[in-house]
């Protein structure tokens, strides 16, 4: 029954991915354009013996995620840009306490209350930190409904593997559009990890030492030690969790770099340009952190030019500049405030060459 194709939205795919990964706890607060995730969860989780709770705010929601993750459950929250800003304090605590959880940002236009149109202006916030202190969270950026489902499942595994919050970042265009989705065999929720505060009596271990989840490290040197451990972990994640996707890059002279929905426009533009005999390719970062800098660097040594297309004023652009060979020319095509980047716009830029 599970091996069937459904026509669903990206938002629904997040919910299905989480449920099929064994997530049975969801906390959230309504905000456009992702509220249907909460609506769907509120309908199905009670039937699955799960917990859906509409929190009083995003502040409460992210701290509920902290409590549930600390108690050893698979847990998720979802929101959109302004709501994610409110969760940033909690992110810092979750990362420091090394609590696995999945946070989805279905981005809308900003800054401020902005608007409810698709945008990619939260790249810095997700990729560079957002909350206080030296912490990192893996950021996955799907470009289709199917990939939203797949990466949501992956995100839970990454969160557990690294004991770290994991971000899924895509825009409201992907969240609200519908595409065929093929789901995979659901798995049951995993058992509580060995560090979780489940009560001393859990699983018959009546005499184990109390466990504590905390982020205050006052003794001299203690916080330095915590930071060293975290940074060592982040270095390992940066080595092992790089994800990216390439199209027509073999002989490309011009390389478009884009993620999420913009990468779809870019691929269409690249295909048309190829038909016109232009040697262009697409490089799509799937993990925004860790950024696929080595792969991009290698390509940048072969191509004449890179065109970064992004629905922001140029945020991922900075990581591309850091990764690319100094000799490589880098152009930028941006859009802000909810403007989309259409294939034709990218194609025009490619035709200027």
């Amino acid at each position: 029954m599970k091996d069937q194709v459904e026509l669903v939205s990206g938002n629904r795919a997040v919910a299905s991915g989480a449920l099929d990964a064994g997530c049975r706890m969801y906390f959230g607060y309504p905000i456009t354009p992702q509220t249907e995730i909460a609506e769907y969860m509120s309908a199905v989780l009670p039937e699955m013996n799960g917990v859906f709770l509409q929190a009083e705010s995003e502040l409460a929601a992210i701290n509920m995620v902290y409590g549930a993750a600390g108690a050893g459950r698979r847990v998720m929250t979802t929101s959109s840009s302004p709501g994610i800003s409110l969760m940033m304090e909690g992110l810092s605590y979750l990362a420091t306490a090394e609590l696995p959880c999945v946070i989805v940002n279905v981005m809308r236009g900003g800054p401020g209350l902005g608007n409810i149109a698709p945008a990619q202006g939260d790249y810095f916030q997700a990729v560079k930190g957002g909350g206080h202190g030296d912490y990192r969270t893996p950021v996955l950026a799907p470009w289709s409904v199917q990939e939203i489902y797949d990466l949501t499942r992956t995100a839970f595994d990454l969160a557990d593997r690294w004991r770290n919050p994991v971000f899924i970042l895509f825009d409201g265009l992907l969240g609200t559009m519908m595409e065929p989705l093929r789901t995979r065999e659901p798995i049951p929720e995993r058992a509580a990890p060995s560090w979780a505060t489940t009560g001393i009596f859990a699983h018959g271990a009546n005499d184990r030492a109390p466990r504590s989840i905390y982020t205050l490290h006052m003794p001299e040197g203690a916080l330095t030690e915590v930071n060293r451990r975290l940074q060592a972990k982040y270095r390992e994640i940066a080595r092992e969790e790089v994800r990216y996707d390439e199209h027509f890059t073999g002989d490309a002279e011009i390389l478009v770099v884009a993620y999420g929905s913009v990468a779809r426009s870019a691929l269409q533009a690249v295909r048309v340009a190829r038909q016109q005999g232009r040697k262009v390719g697409l490089f799509r970062p799937v993990s925004l952190w860790p950024f696929p800098e080595e792969a991009l660097h290698a390509l940048s040594e072969k191509v004449r030019k890179i065109l970064v297309a992004e629905m922001s004023s140029g945020q991922m652009l900075e990581d591309v500049r850091l990764a690319a060979a100094p000799s490589c020319k880098i152009d930028f095509l941006g859009a802000m405030g909810g403007e989309l980047i259409y294939p034709g716009t990218i194609l025009s830029r490619l035709q200027e060459e």
Binding site: M25, N63, M64, G199, Y214, L216
Partner: protein
């Protein structure tokens, strides 16, 4: 040799680091005794907050989580829903619970979350050095109300019992003082009732403890005790505000 008095099992042997005359130590002991008496230590998850109570995770000998400032009721809500078989309590000061965490407190209470809150009200921010809190009394001087709290300037205090009593969710609400052995015994009875409310699945329970803070009140411990009885308890009258009848049954 008969042991007549010892540390409750629900306290670790970590020495308290509170100021002389502070009531945190007494409050910790009463909470720990209640956990022991109700056999809750093994199933307890205690939620520490921010302020002087930030170290409670080192003192309670059970599983604990340390929450961000004000968010303990949200964290407790999720722990209880994640592990309904656990006993979940928070330990929070007045800045944490009644100021920055007001929304989390009110909504956990309104929902009737089946958690228990120990609310330490010392009418100031203790850890940061005695600033004005929502609970700071009229005319009370603090480092951020140096002329004494005046409604027209600093605004009026918040009485959490009155606020919470307006909601359907709470099963047990009580305010206590610790200024004499008799009152400490009554306080423990309140804590036991709050904990029983959760054990019976009746919903939200909270015990507010009016607590001395001699260091920040610029008083001797004895003067601080008198201040609790003669000033604080006049403005914030002790007593049980809400007792669901099922709390007393069985």
């Amino acid at each position: 040799m008969a042991v007549l008095f010892s540390r409750p099992q629900s306290l670790t042997d970590t020495p308290f680091r509170y100021c002389p005359g502070c009531h945190h130590g007494l409050a910790h002991r009463l909470v720990a005794e209640a956990l022991d008496e109700l056999n809750l230590r093994e199933k307890a998850v205690g939620i520490a907050s921010v302020g002087c109570s930030v170290y409670t995770n080192e003192f309670f000998n059970c599983d604990t989580q340390q929450a961000a400032h004000g968010r303990a009721p949200a964290v407790a809500t999720a722990v209880k829903r994640a592990r309904p078989e656990c006993f979940v309590f928070t330990y929070q000061g007045d800045g944490d619970l009644a100021s920055i965490g007001m929304a989390e407190t009110i909504h956990a209470a309104a929902r009737g979350e089946n958690i228990s809150i120990i609310f330490i009200n010392n009418a100031c921010y203790g850890m940061t050095g005695g600033q004005m809190a929502p609970t700071t009394l009229p005319e009370q001087k603090t480092t951020t109300s140096p002329l004494g709290r005046e409604a027209a300037r600093e605004g009026n205090p918040v009485d959490m019992m009155k606020l919470l009593d307006a909601l359907e969710g709470p099963a047990y609400l009580s305010r206590v003082v610790l200024t004499s052995p008799g009152k400490q015994a009554a306080a423990k009875k309140s804590i036991l009732r709050a904990f029983r409310a959760q054990m019976k699945g009746l919903g939200f329970s909270l015990v507010e403890i009016l607590s001395a803070c001699p260091s920040n009140w610029r008083m001797t411990p004895v003067e601080a005790l008198h201040y609790v009885d003669e000033v604080m308890a006049k403005y914030y009258p002790p007593g049980e505000v809400r007792v669901a009848k099922e709390v007393l049954e069985g």
